[in-house]
């Protein structure tokens, strides 16, 4: 017990990043993630790191490009509209094959929206967000402890494959306080021979760049990058299965929606409905394998999301639309209740058979 | 009855002011409305509000 501390989700991300060796943070205030920046402002100077409140989110992401080019671990964070501002920079990072961590603590949208939580940036995170062909390694924590473990993991994966990573959380996860352990974080050592560190006139100079003069060369860069994405899709999907062994209905939910869904599943089980949950932990790569397998065993799916229906499309694709899929959702900053999810589980249980 | 010596400008909507008491943001807002009244340009004026306390001008009335 003594090795645990009580942290807000936002603080946990910041502390985990520091434990994972990140010594550079560039950010800008926006509710509900300002605590990430505030915590970094307090901690970084004490450990010889750099905290800078940039003049805008666009400036912050470009500062990240600078640091990432030198092979050092760097992080920025924002919420929904601020992430939109960063998207050009994120595309550049992907095109330059730079590892870094971008944190999105989602709020209601679109536009200025509101400060309450949402999951409506799923498409933005997994379908580019910025221009061009690329993917981010996207993780979705569902607890403050996962805010810690997935932050550390995202840095490692980003460096292993030279891709930018995104941690997709929502306002509630960012603001809630839970006891966590910040021990046991491993910092993997990956090749950094590509980084800009000064040649000392002893080696050929490295170049970080996403522009090519020749279309065929640019095509090659894209093809090579997608080979790395293939490796990520093969080796890095993460998910959790809950009560799936005998399930007739499969709930699919990530982040805060999965916490609510657990309550609903327990209530449904008490009513005799055999329901379980597959909780995606990586949103890209999406856990397609377990969902396809589930599609051959369950009668129906229920996705639970804080958006107008985004992850549900990935569930349809992964399950090849073999089974009916219902949705329990709220938007605008509202959170689905266990009762609402339960109602959809009950409905889904009445459906059945192949499409 | 007494003579009215001061009142809310006409182009300031008749809703409770949302700014903190004494905040100069509210004072500036009123001054802008007074200027609009004096110049008689309410019908030709488009208001623009930013994020921050002035965002409420988009939500009230």
């Amino acid at each position: 017990m003594a090795d645990k501390v009580l942290m807000k989700g936002n603080e946990a991300i910041a502390e985990a990043a520091i434990m994972a060796g990140c010594r550079f943070y560039f950010g800008y205030p926006i509710t509900p993630q300002t605590e990430v920046a505030a915590y970094m402002a307090k901690r970084m100077p004490k450990i010889g790191g750099t905290f800078l409140q940039a003049e805008s989110e666009i400036a912050a992401i470009n500062m990240c490009i600078g640091v990432a080019s030198t092979g050092k671990r760097v992080m920025t964070s924002s919420s929904s509209p601020g992430i939109s501002l960063k998207e050009e920079g994120i595309s550049y990072m992907a095109g330059c094959d730079l590892p870094a961590l971008i944190v999105n603590v989602e709020r209601g949208g679109p536009g200025l929206g509101g400060i309450q939580p949402s999951q409506s940036d799923y498409f933005q995170a997994t379908r580019g967000g910025g221009h061009g062909d690329y993917h981010l390694f996207v993780v979705a924590p569902a607890s403050v402890q996962e805010m810690v473990s997935l932050t550390a993991h995202a840095f490692n994966v980003a460096e292993k494959y030279r891709v930018p990573a995104m941690l997709l959380a929502d306002g509630t996860l960012g603001q809630m306080m839970e006891p966590v352990s910040i021990e046991g974080i491993t910092v993997e050592d990956h090749d950094k021979s590509w980084a800009l560190t000064g040649t000392d006139c002893k080696r050929k100079h490295n170049i970080i760049n996403s522009l090519s003069l020749l279309p065929e060369e640019l095509e090659q860069w894209n093809l090579e990058r997608y080979k790395r994405y293939e490796k990520i899709e093969a080796e890095e999907p993460m998910w959790e299965e809950y009560m799936m062994d005998d399930a007739d209905v499969c709930v699919v939910a990530f982040g805060i929606a999965s916490r609510v869904s657990r309550n609903a599943i327990k209530a449904a089980r008490a009513q005799g409905i055999k329901v379980g949950m597959i909780r995606p932990i990586t949103l890209w790569p999406f856990p397609k394998k377990p969902l396809l397998a589930a599609a051959d065993k369950v009668k129906s799916f229920v996705t639970v999301e804080l958006n107008m229906g985004q992850m549900v499309e990935d569930v349809e694709l992964a399950t090849r639309c073999k089974r009916p899929i219902l949705m329990a959702n709220r938007v605008g900053g509202c959170i689905p209740t266990p009762e609402q999810v339960l109602a959809q589980i009950v409905e889904a249980n009445k459906l059945g058979g192949a499409q | 009855m007494g003579e009215i010596v001061f009142q809310k400008p006409k182009s300031l909507c008749d809703v409770p002011l949302h700014y903190c008491p004494g905040c100069t943001h509210g004072i500036v807002h009123r001054l802008v409305a007074e200027a609009i009244d004096e110049l008689g340009i309410e019908g030709q004026t488009i208001g623009v509000a930013s994020v921050g306390c002035s965002v409420f001008t988009l939500l009230r009335a």
Binding site: I115, E178, P338 | -
Partner: protein, 223 residues
């Protein structure tokens, strides 16, 4: 526990001020006193005193808070009604102040009146298990920053050391040394040790002045 007319709760961000403020207001009301609770927090976007609005109303305790609390915006606007905590001297006021020095800044406009009336308790809420205040030195740093920002010196300590839902009696008892160390360094008394109601009895066997807390949990789920 004897209450001054004004009880101000301040401390590091996330130390538990809001929960304690609501509980103390309920305690005072149960003891037959006229009490109002004021939310001065301009730092926290969620988890505000406003979460307990229904319970407070049912207990007959008026809540003064920003009308934007728990809405879709987090404008740090404090309502004019807050002045009543210093103007209306016929009732107690429990004041929940936002965390750290940033939260204490909001106190400034009321400080001259509070000091003049001189019938207040400014309580430092401490939690050893918060990562930025794990020891005396860091806690004293936060304490001095708050005093400098708000202009009101602390008069006592409230030990609210906890690990949320996982708090054990052992965790609270183990924090007593930390609280005593801060008390010694500041010369301030430990006014109470606040503990969630389920384990308060076990802690009270070892520590004095234990006040049980009923936690305000506004999550839609429980796990």
């Amino acid at each position: 526990m004897k209450f001054k007319r004004l009880t101000l709760m301040a401390g590091h961000y996330g130390s538990g001020k809001t929960n304690i403020a609501v509980n103390l207001a309920m305690m005072l009301k149960k003891a037959g006193e006229d009490v109002v609770i004021a939310d001065l927090d301009i730092v926290n976007p969620y988890y505000r005193t406003k979460d307990s609005e229904e319970e407070l109303r049912a207990a007959g305790i008026p809540l003064i808070s920003s009308e934007y609390a728990n809405s879709n915006v987090d404008v740090p606007a404090l309502p004019q009604e807050l002045y009543s905590i210093v103007d209306v001297k016929s009732r107690h006021a429990i004041v929940d102040i936002g965390g750290d020095d940033r939260g204490a800044l909001a106190l400034g406009r009321y400080t001259p009146f509070i000091l003049e009336e001189n019938n207040y308790d400014m309580l430092l809420v401490i939690n050893k298990y918060r990562p930025l205040t794990p020891d005396t030195a860091s806690t004293l740093e936060v304490m001095r920053e708050i005093e400098a920002a708000g202009g009101i010196p602390f008069t006592g300590i409230v030990n609210n050391s906890n690990l949320g839902r996982e708090t054990t009696p052992g965790d609270v008892i183990a924090s007593d040394a930390y609280a005593k160390d801060i008390a010694a360094a500041t010369g301030l008394p430990i006014r109470m040790t606040t503990v969630k109601a389920e384990i308060a009895g076990a802690v009270a066997e070892v520590l004095p002045d234990v006040v049980p807390l009923h936690l305000q949990d506004k999550r839609l789920w429980n796990d």
